[in-house]
Symmetry: D3
Subunit: 135 residues, 6 copies
Amino acid sequence: MYTVCVRDHMMIAHSLAGEVFGPAQHLHGSTYVVDVEFRRRTLDAHGIVVDIGLAGETLKSTLAALNYRNLDTERDFSGSNTTTEFLARTLFERIAAAIRSGKLGPAALAVESLRVTLHESHIAWAAFEGEISAT
Amino acid sequence: MYTVCVRDHMMIAHSLAGEVFGPAQHLHGSTYVVDVEFRRRTLDAHGIVVDIGLAGETLKSTLAALNYRNLDTERDFSGSNTTTEFLARTLFERIAAAIRSGKLGPAALAVESLRVTLHESHIAWAAFEGEISAT
Amino acid sequence: MYTVCVRDHMMIAHSLAGEVFGPAQHLHGSTYVVDVEFRRRTLDAHGIVVDIGLAGETLKSTLAALNYRNLDTERDFSGSNTTTEFLARTLFERIAAAIRSGKLGPAALAVESLRVTLHESHIAWAAFEGEISAT
Amino acid sequence: MYTVCVRDHMMIAHSLAGEVFGPAQHLHGSTYVVDVEFRRRTLDAHGIVVDIGLAGETLKSTLAALNYRNLDTERDFSGSNTTTEFLARTLFERIAAAIRSGKLGPAALAVESLRVTLHESHIAWAAFEGEISAT
Amino acid sequence: MYTVCVRDHMMIAHSLAGEVFGPAQHLHGSTYVVDVEFRRRTLDAHGIVVDIGLAGETLKSTLAALNYRNLDTERDFSGSNTTTEFLARTLFERIAAAIRSGKLGPAALAVESLRVTLHESHIAWAAFEGEISAT
Amino acid sequence: MYTVCVRDHMMIAHSLAGEVFGPAQHLHGSTYVVDVEFRRRTLDAHGIVVDIGLAGETLKSTLAALNYRNLDTERDFSGSNTTTEFLARTLFERIAAAIRSGKLGPAALAVESLRVTLHESHIAWAAFEGEISAT
């Protein structure tokens, strides 16, 4: 299995509902350093998993929709806790949709699975991984 | 699959028996920067894999039982080589037991598997991963 | 010159006033991974720059006053842009005051200067450094 | 499953054929920081996955065959794009062959799979992983 | 003293003349992860050292003039060994010139000194630092 | 000012005398990832600060004298607490002596100062820096 990974980041504000979150129930924020791994069993005719330029641009534009925002006021997330786990899944689904829509080019349609990791500090991260067709 | 990871460290002395270990047969020591990954297929009602506060406390207390020790004199390890691999397995079993005993809360009982990684330097690490029920 | 450094982090929300900040004028947030360096010319009788346990606790309690907060509503920062640079200076002054007040122990009074670095992502950081007596 | 990982690096020049590579069609170069993970289900009699000294030497000698070279003039790669993905696979096959030939010692014959990761910058990496017997 | 740092990278081919360079006399290549630190004693009216957006763009455009190139054929470097040290100085001078020419805005004219660091692997880096007016 | 840095590591056991050290009074151990920075104002005729190959070898041989040892039984350290700070100074003096004795070659005699940093975990490090002639 081949994997290619690109990294970028976003800086958001949010709060989390539930006593389990302790002080994180207050409005606070986070830098998420985001890794997206693209996986497939064989390389394309150029010897690559995905056009890394398009992969980076797709990650950047996907993050741009959330970057510099207060997630508590985003309609898409109304009623949801925007935990790191939840955001990893959200980014997974949006990038998977971009691949299926052809935004990463025809060769990227052979990408089988993705793993999206959000590093929230030097001591904690969360990830979501899955098959692209399974979303 | 969702993953949440927390990081902490311990500083131990030990020696390793067997010519394969070369100079590491002498009493020496290591800082182990330890990552514990908690994995499950679905999130709980709060949108999390595990209470990250309890996860961090469990890791800290698990490491505290070994931290600042000479592992050569620990009864639990009598007759064993405390290699990085062995210690990864040891921490895996202790954290899995903590989950099963409810120390990470009822929602954590849904955690399916763990991966424990011990970074021993900037150029080497070892890990053990497995199903929680399989231990 | 000897230096000892300890690391911790905080997660805050804020916004920044001024067109120069572009999208960061919106309410957003940041994880700051914070390094504090303590510097002195000679070691104390125990062979250390500072009691690293007290140094870590001081850093943690200093960050706790800001952690999980929306800095836009903190009275201390009313009328100020809480830029990374500004926060580095703020933490510098608070930790210098803690040293002068004896919270890090009598030996720490010999610490001559501090450097406080806030890593805001994998591609950007800011720092403030200065003499302790000069603050 | 146990994993042991060792890290080293190489510095090569190359160019990549195809419009998809944009400016990387020009002769340029890269530092690849290379991680090799060795995996097996059980430890050997010494409590290890592999002799980490031999693992490191094997990685170094495998990289030495490519290090400080212009890959465009290497016969082995004639007609191939030496993408990061391709090089990950190449190193995988060479290290797998070294294991099968006994260069890592008899105990290493129990290694089941490998993962080879090439970090090409702070924001991109590629990997190849597979069963050793499947190569 | 305040510091702000931004990071980017470039990927170049080159060779180095002189027996001291051993195998690096061959045409090879390197990824340089580049940190540029901007330093000044006081903040501007917005509470910043420099417009970090302009700082990042200036770094990117400065690197673009070398990125994906074979430095052995660059006229600017004819007769020079493009060592990591030499490249750190070159980038220092180009970014200092950009500041003096106003490309980072009027407030950046108060930046007093720069430090440019090129990380060439996980185990080696080189830097050049100096006053801006002293170049 | 130019700087070149090389990195290596050592793994030692020791204990520290004094209540200030808490649990570190017990025999324990540490991995020290060691950075040595070589500094000078001008480059030599080859465009370098120091022969990086000799610098790396000197660091490795300097660490080899301590690596895989119990520092509590080393005569050189009898009566001293082998704190991270103390070890940074020790390595500084030994590498400075190697430079003065010509082990890094004649060009390295122009190195003016050194900084030795010992990373003991992901959240703590210590360093010693000074003029070479001043030791």
